[in-house]
C-alpha cells in the first residue's frame, strides 16, 4: 500500500514538472520558443544554423526527435519541404504541427501556379519572413498561443515572457531602424531571394540576385548580367547567407570590386550568435560596416 502511495506521489510530482516538448524546424524558432517557454518547455531543432533550411536531408534521427514531441513549429510556406516525411516517419499521432506563417503578411505569393521554370523553392511565396524583426514578434505571439493552449495553467507565465520579449525587441527594432536609416534607398545584390522582408522593413532596395531563380545555382551568363547591373548602378555590397558557396559572389567581386558580406540568417549560424537578437545585430552591423 505504502509503495503504491509513493508511486502515485512520484507520478504526480513528475506530472507537475512535466514540460511541453517542442521541436522547431529552424534555430530561429528554437530561440523564440525558449524566450516564451523558458523552463516550462524542452525544445530541440532540426535544421542547423549553418544549413540551408530549404534542403535538409530526411534523417531518421530527426524522426526520433519528433517522435517524442508535443508540438512541431515550422516556418511554413513550403520552406520545409522535407518536414512531412519526418512527421510521417515519427509515427507520432499526437504531434501538433503549427506553421508560424499563418498571421504573417506574406510576400511574393504567386497569383498563378508556378512551374519549375520560376525556380525551385518558393512556390507558395517567399518564406524568409523571419528576417523582418516585426515578424519575429508575430511568430512569438503564435508560439505563445500554442504553448498556452497546450498548458493552460502556464498561460500567465508565457504571457509575461512574451511581453518581456516584445519589450526588448521593440527597443532593438528602434536601434536597428536608426542604424539602417543611413542606408535608406540604397541598392544591394543578394545571393538568394531571402531578403525581401528585411529590405522592405529597413527601406533598402534589391538590384538583383546571384541565383538566377530561387534555388537555382549561379551561372556564368547570369553573373555577366549582374556585372552590368553592379557597374551601371554603382552597387557596393553583395549580402549572402554564410552557408552558400561564395565562389560566384567572389567572381563578381573580382570583376567589379563589390564587397561580399556573409551573414548568419539563423541562430547558431556563426560563432557567438546564440539568439535571434544577436543574429539581427550581426546582420545589421555587418551591413553598416560594409556599405
Amino acid at each position: 500500500m505504502k509503495k503504491i502511495f509513493f508511486a502515485l506521489l512520484l507520478i504526480s510530482a513528475s506530472l507537475s514538472f512535466a514540460n511541453i516538448k517542442v521541436v522547431a524546424s529552424t534555430t530561429v524558432i528554437y530561440d523564440l520558443v525558449k524566450e516564451i517557454g523558458k523552463d516550462k518547455v524542452s525544445v530541440d531543432f532540426i535544421a542547423r544554423g549553418d544549413q540551408d533550411p530549404h534542403f535538409v536531408e530526411v534523417l531518421p534521427s530527426y524522426m526520433v526527435k519528433l517522435r517524442n514531441a508535443d508540438i512541431f513549429f515550422r516556418i511554413g510556406m513550403g520552406l520545409e519541404m522535407w518536414s512531412n516525411q519526418l512527421i510521417d516517419g515519427s509515427r507520432n499521432s499526437h504531434l501538433k504541427t503549427i506553421d508560424l506563417a499563418t498571421d504573417i503578411d506574406k510576400k511574393e505569393v504567386p497569383n498563378f501556379k508556378p512551374d519549375a521554370s520560376y525556380g525551385d523553392v518558393h512556390p507558395f511565396g517567399n518564406p524568409h519572413y523571419w528576417l523582418d524583426p516585426q515578424n519575429a514578434k508575430i511568430m512569438a505571439k503564435e508560439i505563445y498561443e500554442a504553448l498556452s493552449a497546450e498548458s493552460n495553467q502556464d498561460e500567465a507565465y508565457f504571457k509575461k515572457n512574451l511581453d518581456d520579449f516584445n519589450y526588448r525587441i521593440d527597443k532593438k527594432i528602434n536601434e536597428w531602424t536608426n542604424k539602417m536609416s543611413s542606408l535608406k534607398g540604397k541598392s544591394f545584390i543578394f545571393f538568394h531571394a531571402s531578403w525581401i522582408y528585411f529590405a522592405d522593413r529597413f527601406g533598402i532596395k534589391t538590384a538583383g540576385f546571384v541565383e538566377p531563380k530561387p534555388g537555382i545555382a549561379p551561372s556564368p551568363s547570369h553573373n555577366a548580367e549582374l556585372v552590368g547591373i553592379i557597374k551601371s548602378k554603382g552597387i557596393k555590397t553583395i549580402l549572402m547567407e554564410n552557408f552558400y558557396s561564395d565562389s560566384a559572389p567572389n567572381q563578381l567581386s573580382q570583376l567589379t570590386g563589390i564587397k561580399v558580406v556573409k551573414v548568419p540568417t539563423a541562430v547558431f549560424g556563426m560563432k557567438n550568435i546564440n539568439s535571434y537578437i544577436e543574429m539581427m545585430d550581426n546582420i545589421i552591423n555587418q551591413i553598416i560596416q560594409n556599405s
Binding site: D52, E57, V58, L59, V64, M81, R91
Partner: protein, 388 residues
C-alpha cells in the same frame, strides 16, 4: 489493348494535374532515362558500336488518402511496354504500437539499396547479386509489410516484417522444375541509424528472407517412376550499411555496401550407376556482395567506383545449377562513373564503365567483358527531400 488503357489513364492524370489548382492533387513526377552504350564483348553483335536503348519512363503518383494513409503508384515504360512497377497503400499513423503497414506491390526492404529506385542511385548498373538472387528488376513483390519502431532511445531502430507472394522469383528452366505454386515468402529487416555527428551518419541493417523458391519432381529415371515432388527453400541472410559524410552543403561522400549469404535446397542428380533412381536434395551455400564509394562535389559533379561479387555466371539462364543455385562459379564486376548535374537534380548526365570478370571452377577461360554507357536522366515534378 492494355497499353492503350494505360495511356488513357496517364493522359487523364496529367490533364487533371494541369488544369487543377487544387493542392489536394497527388504529387506527380515523371522520370525519363535514355541510355546509349557500347560494349567490347567478343562475338556480341553490338561490339564496339554505338547502341541505343529505347528510352525508359517512370511515372510516379503519390499522395495522402487521408491523415492516416498514403497511396503510391509507379508506372513504367520499358522496352516498349507499360508495366505497373509499384502500386501500394501505406498506413503511416494511427495504428496500435505505431505500426506502419504497407500493402500492394512494391520494392521489398531486403537490404537498403533495393528500396531505392534505380534513377536515384549514383551509379548505372544494378548490383550483380541483386539480379542473380532477386531478379533483373530487383526484389519487387506483392505482399504486406509491417514496420515497427523499436524503442532504442535516441537511436532510430526499425523492424520490418513482411509476407510476400514471391512474384519476382524467376521459374527455373529445368525440365523437372515444377511451379512453386502458392507459397508465401517471408522477409524481414532490422535497421539502425546513428548520427555520428552533425555531418556524419551511419545506417546498418540485418535482413532475412525465407521461403520456397521452386518445386521439383526428383524422380529422374527409375523402375517405378513415382512422383517425388519436393519444395525447395531458400534462406537469405543479409548485412547492409550506408555511411554518409557531408561536411558542407556542396559535397557528400557516400560509402554503401551489402552482402548476402544464400543457403538453399538444390536438387543434384547423382552420377548414373547402381544408385540409379532418385536425385537428392542438398544444401548449398553461396554469396553475393557489393560496395561502392561516391563523392559528390560542388553540388554538380560526382564520381565513384563500385565492386560487385556474385555467385554464378552472370547472365546465365536460371536453372538448378546456375546463378543462385551455383556454388562453384562466380562473377565479379568493377564499375566506375562520372556524373554531371547541370541544374540541381532535375537532370543528370552520367558516363559509366563496367568490367565483368568470370570465374569458372572447371578452368574455362572467358574474356572479361567491358561496357561503356552514357546515360541521360531527367526528373519532372515536385522536388522531394532526400531520405538518408
Amino acid at each position: 489493348m492494355k497499353n492503350k488503357f494505360l495511356f488513357i489513364v496517364l493522359t487523364v492524370i496529367s490533364i487533371g494535374n494541369i488544369y487543377s489548382q487544387s493542392s489536394i492533387n497527388p504529387d506527380i513526377s515523371l522520370i525519363g532515362t535514355f541510355n546509349t552504350y557500347t560494349n567490347f564483348i567478343k562475338g556480341s553483335p553490338g561490339y564496339g558500336k554505338l547502341n541505343f536503348d529505347i528510352p525508359e519512363m517512370e511515372l510516379f503518383v503519390d499522395g495522402y488518402l487521408n491523415p492516416y494513409a498514403r497511396a503510391s503508384a509507379n508506372i513504367s515504360y520499358e522496352n516498349n511496354e507499360f508495366g505497373v512497377e509499384e502500386l501500394y497503400g501505406d498506413i503511416v499513423r494511427g495504428l496500435p504500437l505505431d505500426i506502419q503497414i504497407k500493402a500492394g506491390k512494391f520494392l521489398v526492404g531486403f537490404g537498403k539499396l533495393n528500396t531505392v529506385h534505380p534513377h536515384a542511385w549514383p551509379f548505372l548498373e544494378r548490383p550483380l547479386f541483386h539480379q542473380v538472387f532477386f531478379g533483373e528488376g530487383g526484389f519487387n513483390d506483392v505482399g504486406v509489410n509491417f514496420s515497427f519502431i523499436i524503442p532504442t532511445g535516441d537511436v532510430f531502430t526499425n523492424l520490418d516484417l513482411g509476407v510476400f507472394k514471391g512474384a519476382s522469383i524467376i521459374p527455373m528452366s529445368d525440365s523437372y522444375a515444377i511451379d512453386r505454386g502458392v507459397n508465401p515468402i517471408f522477409v524481414g529487416r532490422l535497421g539502425t541509424f546513428w548520427s555520428l555527428d552533425d555531418y556524419t551518419n551511419l545506417e546498418v541493417g540485418l535482413s532475412g528472407s525465407y521461403g520456397c523458391y521452386s518445386k521439383a519432381n526428383l524422380v529422374v529415371f527409375g523402375i517405378f517412376n513415382q512422383e517425388n515432388v519436393q519444395a525447395l527453400n531458400h534462406f537469405y541472410s543479409g548485412l547492409d550499411f550506408k555511411f554518409k559524410y557531408s561536411p558542407t552543403a556542396y559535397s557528400v561522400l557516400t560509402i554503401q555496401g551489402e552482402g548476402l549469404l544464400n543457403n538453399r535446397d538444390v536438387p543434384r542428380i547423382p552420377v548414373m550407376g547402381i544408385d540409379y533412381t532418385l536425385a537428392s536434395v542438398q544444401k548449398i551455400n553461396n554469396a553475393g556482395a557489393f560496395i561502392y564509394a561516391d563523392y559528390k562535389f560542388e553540388k554538380q559533379f560526382s564520381f565513384g567506383i563500385k565492386y560487385d561479387y556474385t555467385a554464378g555466371i552472370f547472365g546465365s539462364a536460371p536453372t538448378f545449377l546456375s546463378l543462385a543455385n551455383d556454388d562453384k562459379n562466380s562473377t565479379q564486376g568493377i564499375e566506375a562513373w562520372f556524373s554531371y548535374y547541370p541544374v540541381e537534380e532535375t537532370s543528370v548526365v552520367r558516363l559509366g564503365i563496367q568490367n565483368l570478370m568470370y570465374h569458372y571452377a572447371d578452368g574455362t577461360n572467358r574474356n572479361n567483358e567491358t561496357t561503356i554507357k552514357l546515360q541521360f536522366l531527367f526528373s519532372l515534378g515536385p522536388h522531394k527531400a532526400h531520405p538518408f
